[in-house]
């Protein structure tokens, strides 16, 4: 994966940045989409990535930092290859989210907010993901996993490469 400490998009990615910027009446509207692209490319949004992205928009690094730190989906530190994010808001709480989090902590041997020593899995708790009909639920990378039980959690973990 390209280095988050020395970030640089490829020529194709720079063309994509330009395309995204052209979609908005003010190119700054593309900041979130470009930050998504940067995180997908470099793994996380380091301070160096913030400076690099700021340069692509003619914005101050401080503005980009303010944006990055405001949103939960931008990681400012390296994350695991997989991110397991358990919803712990009201419906999931009612249906047993606490037990699911405890089970994951035991299974992974880490606390919430940590990444396993092999760099494979980051465990998070998050606020409502709006899949309350399937509570308790969690997001594993791009996927929603619903109606969780400890057994189902084990199967999902075993399926992660």
């Amino acid at each position: 994966m390209p280095d988050a400490k020395r970030p640089e998009f490829t020529a194709e990615q720079l063309a994509e940045v330009q395309r995204l910027q052209g979609l908005y009446p003010d190119k700054r509207g593309a900041l979130l989409p470009v930050l998504h692209l940067a995180q997908d490319t470099f793994g996380y949004v380091s301070l160096e990535v913030e400076v690099y992205v700021a340069g692509l928009f003619g914005l101050s690094p401080a503005h980009v930092h303010e944006v990055v730190t405001f949103y939960t989906l931008f990681f400012q530190q390296p994350k695991g290859r997989h991110v397991v994010a358990v919803c712990h808001t009201l419906s999931c709480h009612l249906m047993g989210a606490k037990g699911i989090v405890e089970h994951l902590k035991d299974k992974l041997g880490i606390d919430v907010g940590e990444t396993t020593a092999d760099g494979k899995t980051t465990l998070l708790t998050v606020e409502c993901l709006c899949a309350c009909e399937g509570a308790p639920m969690m997001q594993v990378d791009d996927r929603y996993e619903v109606n969780l039980t400890p057994d189902k959690v084990d199967r999902i973990l075993a399926g992660l490469a």
Partner: protein, 431 residues
């Protein structure tokens, strides 16, 4: 069985694709709308008594009418697909199972307000809905339903899909616009309202996914027909999200005259495991909690209001008699403490302090003055902030304590009263 409007295509194979949508009558509303005067479209939506289905319940046609008359500057249509209200999941299904209904609704709305550029702001966590909706937009472009001179009508309309990045406040319409403009999602002071000065400083209409999904049907079958499906307060059916302790959690589409009791017991099979109902939140976590003697109300914009609550996003969260209400309040308070954007002092400070107090009560360290302190802080802050976020938090703070005060007091009496360890909002060790 009442007629389905919003969910009529749900569960049909490939309902997200253009051929299936068309086979089932899709884009008939647009066919009609493209020959109508823009003002006549807005008039039809007013007649329908369609109320915003994202949470605020504002009359949609009236909102459209706020675009300054004769304005020649660019005007934008923004779809709020930043679904985030705890207990709500209808927009996710609409994006995945009937994306063309939203696109068609956007086309019609755009014609009504003379907009040629629309943005769809989808919450960042909704990756699958974003992929499916993006596919539908591509299909619509290929079929000439989006872009320049749509079907020879002379009308141009482009759609930009914008992914959020994780922040509940971006579901607040002016917070959403800040985010769309490449900033942190701080709500803006109103007035000016977005219809006058919105996205990128131009007149903008922000509508919820479900609200726009109603529009093709309204144009196709008439505002009176839609109004007739509902009550005097509000036309139509709507899609209720029901979760928590019911036999069959999920979406229920029903006329807005349906009672909360009927939703829980008839549509969702009642309370499982032989338990009984203790409490229910009728409209997403920002709605005040209701007790079992308060559920014989219609689920339109007026029903929950008559009990001091609100219909909000129609996210119904059901709690059986095993639930600890103080613990539920702690969980809800954690949500608001985490999601407060930090712009207004009363909200930023109170949400954090109230969470800490709720946490220590649950931990057995509550003090007898804590309950009155929470109520005092909640009531003082209400109505003092830029957006409705804090007012939404106040709904649960006050109602949980006032309606279940004895349970809180018993917990405080049985606790040690000693100083507890500090909880953290962001570390979430208390999952």
């Amino acid at each position: 069985m009442a007629e389905k409007v919003f969910t009529r295509n749900f569960g049909i194979a490939n309902s997200h694709t253009l051929p299936v949508y068309r086979e089932r009558g899709g884009y008939a509303g647009w066919e009609k709308a493209k020959g109508m005067e823009p003002a006549a479209i807005t008039e039809e939506v007013k007649k329908a008594n369609l109320r915003g289905l994202g949470g605020a319940g504002f009359p949609t046609g009236v909102k459209w009418g706020f675009i300054p008359k004769g304005s020649t500057t660019p005007k934008y249509l923004v779809v709020n697909a930043d679904e985030g209200e705890p207990g709500t999941f209808k927009d996710r299904y609409l994006l995945e199972q009937d994306p063309h209904a939203l696109i068609e609704g956007m086309l019609i709305a755009a014609r009504a307000i003379d907009s040629h550029l629309g943005f769809v702001y989808i919450r960042g966590e909704y990756v699958q809905p974003w992929r499916i909706f993006s596919g539908a937009v591509r299909e619509a472009y290929e079929a000439g339903l989006l872009g320049k001179n749509i079907q020879g009508s002379g009308f141009d309309f482009d759609v930009v899909i914008h992914r959020g990045a994780g922040a509940y406040i971006c579901g607040e319409e002016t917070g959403l616009l800040s985010s769309l403009e490449g900033k942190k999602g701080w709500p803006k002071i109103k007035p000016p309202f977005p219809a006058v000065k919105g996205a990128f400083g131009q007149p903008t209409i922000v509508n919820n996914v479900e609200t726009l999904a109603a529009v093709p049907h309204i144009v196709n079958r008439g505002g009176e027909w839609f109004a007739g499906l509902g009550t005097k307060a509000q036309g139509g059916t709507r899609v209720y999200s029901v979760s928590g302790h019911v036999v069959r959690p999920g979406l229920v589409e029903a006329p807005v005259s349906i009672t909360l009791r009927s939703l829980i017991y008839d549509e969702c099979g009642g309370i499982p495991n032989g338990r009984t109902l203790k409490a229910v939140v009728p409209g997403g976590s920002s709605a005040a909690i209701l007790t079992p003697d308060e559920i014989d109300i219609p689920m339109d914009v007026d029903g929950p209001k008559s009990k001091g609550s609100m219909i909000g996003s129609a996210g119904v969260i059901v709690m059986d008699d095993t639930v600890s209400i103080p613990e539920a309040l702690m969980v809800v308070a954690r949500f608001y403490a985490h999601e407060s954007c930090g712009q207004c002092t009363p909200c930023r400070e109170s949400t954090g302090w109230i969470y800490k107090m709720a946490h220590r009560i649950v931990d057995g360290h509550g003090r007898k003055e804590d309950l009155d302190t929470i109520l005092d802080v909640a009531k003082r802050g209400a109505g003092t902030t830029i957006c409705a976020f804090y007012d939404g938090a106040v709904g649960p703070y006050i109602s949980y304590i006032e309606k279940f005060r004895e349970e809180f007091e018993a917990l405080i009496r049985s606790g040690s009263g000693a100083t507890p360890p500090e909880p953290t909002v962001h570390g979430s060790a208390d999952a």
